[in-house]
Amino acid sequence: MKAPLSWILDLVDVPAGTTTEEITDRLTLTGLKLEAVVSPGREITGPLVIGRVLTMEPEPQKNGKTINWCTVDVGDANGTGEPQGIVCGAHNFAPGDLVVTVLPGGVLPGGFEIGARKTYGHLSAGMICSARELGLGEDHDGIIVLPPDAGEPGQDVRAVLGLDEEVIEFEVNPDRAYALSLRGIAREVLVSVEGASGFRDPALRETPAANDDGHPVVVEDSEGCPVFVARRVDGFDPAAATPDFMVQRITAAGMRPISLAVDVTNYVMLETGRPIHGYDADRLQGAIVVRRAREGEKLTTLDGTARTLDPGDLVVTDDSGIIGLGGVMGGETTEISGTTTSVLVEAAHWDAVSMFRTGRRHKITSEAGKRNERGVDPTICEAAADRVVELLVEHGGGTAHPGVTVVGTPPAMPVVEVAGDLAARVSGMPITEEQSVACLRAVGCEVSAAVGGSGTLSVTPPPWRPDLTDAQDFSEEVVRLVGYDKVPSVLPTPPSGRGLTRAQQLRRRIGRTLAGEGFVEVVTFPFVGEADLDALGLTAEDPRRDLLRLSNPLNAEAGFMTSTLLPGLLRTAGKNVGHGTTDVAIFETGTVTLPRHAGPAAILPVDRRPTEAELEALDAALPAQPLHLALVGAGDAVSGGWWAEAQPFSWADAVEAVRAVAASLGLEVSASAVELAPWHPGRCAELTVDGEVIGHAGEVHPTVCQAFGLPKRTVAAEVDLDLLIARAVHLRTAPTFSSYPVAKEDVALVVDDTVPAAAVEAALREGAGALLESIRLFDVYTGDQVGEGRKSLAYALRFRALDRTLKEGEAAAARDAAVARAAERTGAIQRA
């Protein structure tokens, strides 16, 4: 809400010498936050003066336009006292008129610098200004002609035009709709600024009594429209200009001046907070009827949009049909136009919820709707309509029609019981009941002590405060006036906490482990599009294709919540490579969204706690959202240098990173071959812990690498951390180990290429028995010596007993048993 300071001070007095800053500081502290103080003329610099037109010569041009070559008396403002020669394209003035003249050196809004320049065969030294050129409105039909008593030529014109007015912009919270009016702001000044007094309520006026001579109005839905007031002004001059002060104030408040009739309704809305609608009375046919719309009814609103209405919409109709969307926007057929001479003024109170729904349904944001949906004082309809009539008569030359239509009565405000010590209990400040009562009365509440001195107050909020419904709401009014800055600072004493949960600790551990492994954590948006999944090479049946769709994504290309962290992470890796970080190792942890298609999440009641069954159903309706970890490595895993050659990332680095994470949780991971996008079909490991699949790791498919701008042999992994964390070993058992001498045995086994090393090792372990202390694969050989399609695996076995030195031959026997088991299980042949 933007409010010119002069307008505020028309309605309330502050002690002499009070600065704007003192006023805005106080208002900010009591809840009307200052956004900015601006002047309409802040962008105008240099000489802007009153000029008197001395001569004007019309000169037709080849392009069909006629320009005026003028001489203008600007006093001594040009330094010479000589008349200023200026070319002007407007025609709405005559010699002798006072005009607004900007001289060379001046700068107008938009950084428009004025100089002396050759144009239309003259040296034009300055410009005669229109309202729009000064940022004072949209009117560009002609230049501003000042009243004859505006001042002397050469005098600065800023004050005359209100360009140096201070306009205060406030942030208005949704619960303070009354502050969307000068009336409300002035009232806040009254209660907030020390010494403020003399509040002049613009909605407090004598109004003529209702009679039967007014325009007939029938309200069929009195809940939707509790009050409807109609007044009429006839003989109105449609060409009458809006007075300057009104144009300036409306413009300063951020609205556009249109015509006197419209401007007056907007002016009164800004003044009182009550939205007003004006109809061209001559275009109304028969009685006005207010009702809910019927299915399929249509209306073209003032903004030219044809709308299909909803049975929830409140409409204003006459014999011709629907003429307006009540309280939100009028219709085209009865719109005030340049020929309107009779105006019917509507000031009606509308149901806020209905206004909110209609506005949202039709995506209409209007100044009227903004106020009506937040709640307006229902008692001021007659006053506001009367004020409009007064201004139309005064400035538009019309006469007030004696008819006054008033349908309905304002709803009564509720009486709320408020404990006298509530403000003290809520705030922790020693606020007495007397203080509370004083504060509540200051904001307009009626307060009376309840029977029996029970310490409970009966409070009726003022009609402009529909937000005050609960006892707690009144405590805020008291506390904000006593002052939030006076709330003491006291630390509560919580009971002993249990610290982080185990899962929380483990998640931190996982992050530290990966950082220790050289990976950098990134955070990406979880939005994904089908093209991203295509880029991953997912098949049509891949379960990761089942995505939660967003109704209103920011970007249609990424309209879903992702089911895998890989697209975001691969894209991020690609960006890094693109930025010249050719060796990149990154990871991300985040939840993924896996729809369960389990039906709606119910809107439960709020006047009681939901039942356990209701809560369970609510959770079951949400998608599964497991916490995933993904990592990507591209380029070199170990840099080359004076020490050694670089080691490029290999599938094994991806598997090992996951193993490192699992090891940090006390878990061991098994890997087996699987084909899964986006990995290389021959280099993807399915990772399991105790037989449960926890994720995948390996080399990324070359096509996928290309799609994401990554080098070949980029590696990646994605695992479900919830599964890992659930299995994490909590209490690890202390180890026992032998201090007897170790017996070492090496074996080389030849197997088919297709036999996994893990299978050979498992067979060796099983065959070697309890004496086996450790086993390590130290060489893999393929080549002529083992034959086509075969490989040699060389293992170092260490044997030891816990309780004794092994006897001669014991280790060799265990080794032979191991080899025999490997031969039996995997067809392994021991190399000589």
């Binding site: 909110f356 922790g428 707690q472 709330v487 509560p492 982080l500 609510l618």
Partner: protein, 365 residues
């Protein structure tokens, strides 16, 4: 050892004469002293103390002497051999020390060579900031509560006194999901975690909830469709705004430095009443000569978040008796706090994933 040599005339055995033995000893000691290195000393050892050395050969002759002469000759040769061995050992250790010293000199490296063979990893600064904040509250006895980011509309709005027709719903531009009748949203705030906490725990409740939230804000230097919030919730007997102020003052001083406090301004949130905006004293200028301060842009205070006394309606919807318990709640942007704490003007690097950004913060902040 040789047996008695009966063919010789003992008198004729000249090598056993005293002067001869002395000469052998002198020659050996001289050669030992002259040996320049371990290899040379090895040869000296062979030449003067080996099996074929003169003194070893002389020793063999002892058996040929008449018994009465053997003792004397034996002593003489034994002493000589002892001296030679001693000298050898001494020289050996000297030469070994010299050798080692030379080797160490030869093994000198350029210790200024780069040593970073493996890249250092790092964690994301927002993760670190979340953990830091969580730890500050855990230290006070709070616990860390969590909830899903894809959330039921009822928990994100209705349970928090944001009914379907509440104007404040339009303040938070919500991502809705399809089908619309499922009433599922991307949470716009971490407050549904507060509702979940109230629904599942019994007072006294002291929790903080850090997490990701979503709004349909176009991505620019100061807005992101995804950002991070931390909210706190306390529900206990006798909780007041003063406890809220004390807690936030403590939080501010822990996060931004000793003496950094907060101030409240009236505001509006449906789930709290009274509600306040909370500003934190600028930790750079401390509101002294604030005009030139970049961090607070001359304000002396920085907008930090929102807070208030828990609205009794929220307690009722979550099954907590407002006649017995009261509470406070607060919430602030983790990203925003990070930005002004670490002098970051444009938030986008937080979500761009350039490793140069995260790497600058290492593993703790």
């Amino acid at each position: 050892m040789s047996g008695p040599n009966t063919d010789y005339d003992p008198v004729e055995v000249t090598p056993l004469k005293a002067d001869q033995v002395e000469a052998m000893r002198e020659a050996a000691l001289a050669a030992i002293a002259d040996a320049p290195d371990l290899d040379a000393l090895k040869q000296v050892r062979l030449d003067h103390a080996g099996d074929r050395s003169p003194i070893a050969l002389a020793n063999r002759e002892i058996g040929a002497l008449p018994p009465q002469a053997r003792k004397e000759a034996g002593q003489r040769i034994g002493q000589a051999r002892g001296a030679i061995n001693q000298a050898l050992a001494a020289r050996q250790s000297v030469l070994e020390a010299e050798h080692e010293e030379r080797m160490l000199v030869e093994e000198t490296v350029d210790v200024s060579l780069p040593t970073t063979r493996r890249r250092r990893g790092s964690r994301h600064p927002l993760t670190l900031q979340s953990e830091l904040i969580a730890d500050l509250f855990v230290a006070m006895g709070y616990e860390v509560a969590e909830g899903p980011v894809v959330e039921a509309e009822w928990l994100n709005f209705d349970a928090l006194n944001l009914g379907p027709d509440h104007p404040a719903r339009t303040m938070q531009d919500t991502f809705w999901t399809e089908p619309a009748e499922d009433h599922v949203v991307l949470r716009t705030q971490t407050s549904p975690v507060q509702a979940r906490t109230l629904l599942t725990r019994k007072p006294p409740i002291y929790v903080v909830c850090p997490g990701r939230v979503f709004r349909t804000d176009e991505y620019d230097a100061t807005h992101s469709p995804m950002f991070h919030q931390v909210e706190g919730l306390v529900v206990d007997e006798g909780i007041t705004m003063a406890h809220l102020k004390g807690t936030l003052d403590h939080f501010a001083s822990q996060l931004f430095g000793d003496g950094i406090s907060t101030r409240f301004r009236p505001s509006y949130f449906p789930f709290t009443e009274p509600s306040a905006e909370v500003d934190v004293l600028c930790f750079v200028c401390r509101n002294v000569d604030a005009e030139s301060c970049r961090t607070c842009r001359g304000e002396g205070w920085i907008e930090w978040g929102g807070c208030g006394v828990v609205n009794p309606r929220v307690l009722v919807a979550c099954g907590v008796d407002p006649e017995v318990y009261s509470g406070f709640a607060f919430g602030m942007g983790i990203d925003r706090s990070f930005m002004f704490r670490h002098d970051l003007e444009d938030l986008r690097p937080l979500f761009e994933g350039d490793v140069r950004f995260s790497s600058a913060f290492g593993t703790e902040i």
